[in-house]
Amino acid sequence: MASVTIDGQSIEAGEGETILDAAERADIFIPTLCNHPDLPAFGGCRMCLVKVEGMGSYVPACSTPARDGMVIHSDIEELNRLRRNILELILSEHPSGCIICDDRELCFDYHRAPSKAGRTTGCRFCPEKDECDLYDIAASLDIEDIRLPIEYREREVRRDDPFIERDYNLCILCGRCVRVCDEIRGVHAVDFVNRGHETTIGTAFQAPLLDSGCIFCGACIDVCPTGALSERRMKWGGSPEQRITTTCMLCPVGCSIEVDVTRDRILNVHAAGPGHGTTQLCVKGRFTLPALMQHHERLARPMVRDDVLKAASWDDAIGAAAELLRRYEPHEIGFVVSPGMINEGGYMLRKIAHALECDNVGVASGMATAGALQTITSGGSIDIASADVVLLLGVDLRITTAVLAVSVYQAKKNGARVVTIGCDGAPRWADHAIATPSVPNFLDGLQAALSGEACNNDVATMAEHLQNGSVAILYGPGVMADDGTAIASLAGVASSCNGTVIPCWDGANVQGLLMLDCLPGGHGNNPVRDMTGLKALYLTQPLPDIPEHVETIILQDVYTSNLLERADVVLPAASFSEEQGSMLTCTGERRILQPCTTPAGQSRPDWDILSRLGVALGCDGFAYDDVAAVTEEAMDHIAGGKKRPGENDAGGEERMLPDGMLCYRGHAIGAKVPDFARLVEQWRDDDA
């Protein structure tokens, strides 16, 4: 602890705190433009200069550690004069007529909505109008005039990228975007370009972001203090009416997100912030949700086939579904749970299957096997960021786990050795990137080396690293591409080195659904792999290649699909942003979902549909008043410990599921969000 005095106020500064940290904790305002809570100190903008008694010159508060006995002055005229000079220099190159305009207040009263122009030439044209750091600081320093020649840089507004629009005419060169991209995300797609007056932010050779290795996580937009970086679709969204915290269900990381909602529509998505686990998101969570959740292909009405599909009431549709299910023997029905479903929906589907004494239950995910579930418990339990060795097996860090990659990069910066094995888009900062043709073979070799068998040098070195430090192992679908032996080897490797295993599932809630036993219990088949003998399917997402012997399909889905041609009953389900419940992340944490908007059309949450179906089937225990009771039952089941014996993971028909990480409930995100399709196409080209 260090005792400092700032503007006459005594403050106890904590270990490693800077003067700025201490001041902020004591509610003392020191202006800053380049500093950001998520980023290490930079000391670039010089707005936070303070005077410390006994020190010769002014020091930046953001990068000067608070030392015991310091007497600091932050609000004296000589400093404010300096700050005004600095800010005037910045404003002379930032369209700021509005900031100092005498009619500003009156103008804002009348011009409530911003003018949605191609170029921002003043506050009225600025997407940041409602929350502008520059204006706040200018106001705090009483800037009323800019005594310097004003320059508009006349730079082209870059609109050639997916999602992101860049107008460097507004940039104040604070470097937040450069730093978050490099120091937090480890991507380094942008940097300062040119020198002196010509300095700007840009990619190498001013290429589009798409060609620069950018992963479109949107972190740069979130930290930009001006309107220079903005999300094209949301640019003029304005302040939301509501901000609701929920969980993103587009990958198993399950980030807590804050969803901006206006007039019952999702406008924008942000990371929920430090209090909720992460300040970072990936392209899917940050940019695709509004278009995905509100897509025009959402199923809006229940339908029942009467020669052709016809709109029906919920009661009629549920009745028709129950009637169809009653026609078949339990072993003739298969239930498929979508990994995009939350615990409550998955639990209810499993409950229906069991009530019908049907054991043909499966999760539509290539990774959802009992063996994969067991790997979680085969090793230790550490934070990725604190690992000494991080092993990445068959994962694509850009898509599947872009947010976990933030922790991996943190570990790397803390000195960890990062090894990628059979990964697409392996980060440039990995210590070893091993492009093995067969991840399973490599694992076999590694396990042998760990148990002391002779092996080649690479593997032996790797084994040595694994035995000397804490290990985190992230694995993805690449490990599953065999008969299940790789999983067994992986579990062996993990237990030999006490490694923490994190399965980067190919679906958002695979872990939750596996913990809820959404797999066959021993006398049934997993219908996702093996449809032999099945005559009726209850699907919660589309599946490819459904054999002709399946006579009846009940489809409980979010979007329309080709499957409507075969479906007998269609039950529109609410999307995850419209329902309440919970999911389990790949690190085993339980995350809560809250409804952000009302369900599209007449759609209902999965649990609700299945509860009604259970009642219609005459099964006991299906009448629920609300979702809370379902949640409680599902959580009891997960906490119940002993999982079902598990199916035979191997065998069955070859069914090529689409890449779960590019889908929501089996529907390609790119088909709903063209910008995302562009991005994925670019990544595939890069990989090739």
Binding site: A113, S115, D145, I150, Y152, R265, P290, Q294
Partner: protein, 279 residues
């Protein structure tokens, strides 16, 4: 449909549109306006006629990119065809009044020209003032200066001319003893409101050219209703010129912002231009 002869960027977000329309050019008079429809899905936007060449058969319009429809319009190029209807509205009454003060802001910097030129032609002493937030947003200066007896520029940040707005130029002139008989203001609604208030403070009659939301622009639909001197008037046929001191500005602003939430949403659907559909 009319062919676009030229589309020029004259300042950031401000564009000059020149349209081939000989019949319109032959009949256009100062103070009249056109309705421009950027594409089949675009709204009908009233825009002041900023000039016409009766020999060439062209008319020109200055417009500010301020939303989806104007953005679509700005993406047109010479050679494209657009839907366009003019001349509309009652022409300005041009007489010899003595000294006339003409103020323009935003698109009005370009569009005020016909009134200025006609007033000069009618034997008035013309004082012109134009305003912008900063110097890089001003345009059309030499043309305006040519027909003006006095010419002033005002910028919010003082980067060129005097610091302030057209209203401040007016105040300063009156305070220096200049006698001004009439004022004409053209620009955004806010500029016209504060400028005509400033004129009113000095007892000078002012005239403004209103641009409320409009649909048919021929007096049928009533969307462009404005209250002037306590009476409901249609900006399209009774105007667009009205005495500034008699306009109910509060109501006008209210009516203009009526569709703001939809405008925001429309921007997010620009998709139809870029193949980026939302829903």
């Amino acid at each position: 449909m009319h062919e676009i002869v030229a589309m020029r960027d004259v300042a950031p977000n401000v564009h000059e549109l020149v349209i081939d329309a000989p019949d319109v050019a032959a009949k256009a008079q100062p103070g009249q306006f056109a309705v421009v429809i950027p594409d089949e899905l675009g709204e009908r936007i009233p825009m002041s006629l900023a000039g016409w060449d009766r020999d060439e058969g062209t008319v020109s319009i200055f417009f500010l990119e301020a939303g989806v429809s104007t953005m679509k319009l700005a993406q047109h190029e010479a050679g494209d065809e657009i839907d366009f209807m003019a001349p509309l509205g009652t022409p300005a009454t041009i007489k010899q009044y003595g000294t006339v003060f003409v103020g323009g802001g935003c698109y009005g910097v370009g569009a005020i020209y016909p009134i200025l030129a006609a007033m000069k032609e009618a034997g008035n002493q013309v004082i012109t003032a134009i305003e912008a937030r900063s110097d890089f947003l001003l345009y059309n200066e030499s043309k305006l200066r040519e027909r003006s007896d006095m010419f002033f520029r005002a910028t919010s940040d003082g980067s060129i001319g005097s610091r302030g707005k057209v209203k401040d130029v007016l105040r300063s002139l009156v305070e220096q003893g200049e006698t001004i008989d009439r004022c004409y203001f053209m620009g955004c609604t806010f500029m016209m409101m504060v400028s005509s208030r400033a004129a009113g403070e000095h007892g000078i009659p002012s005239f403004v050219y209103l641009n409320p939301l409009m649909v048919d622009a021929t007096g049928m639909c009533g969307v462009c209703r404005v209250t002037v001197n306590g009476e409901t008037r249609f900006a399209c046929v009774d105007g667009p010129e009205f005495p500034g001191s008699q306009v109910d500005w509060e109501e006008l602003f209210h009516r203009k912002s009526q569709y703001a939430p939809y405008e925001r949403e429309a921007y997010r659907h620009t998709c139809r231009l870029r193949g980026d559909r939302d829903d």
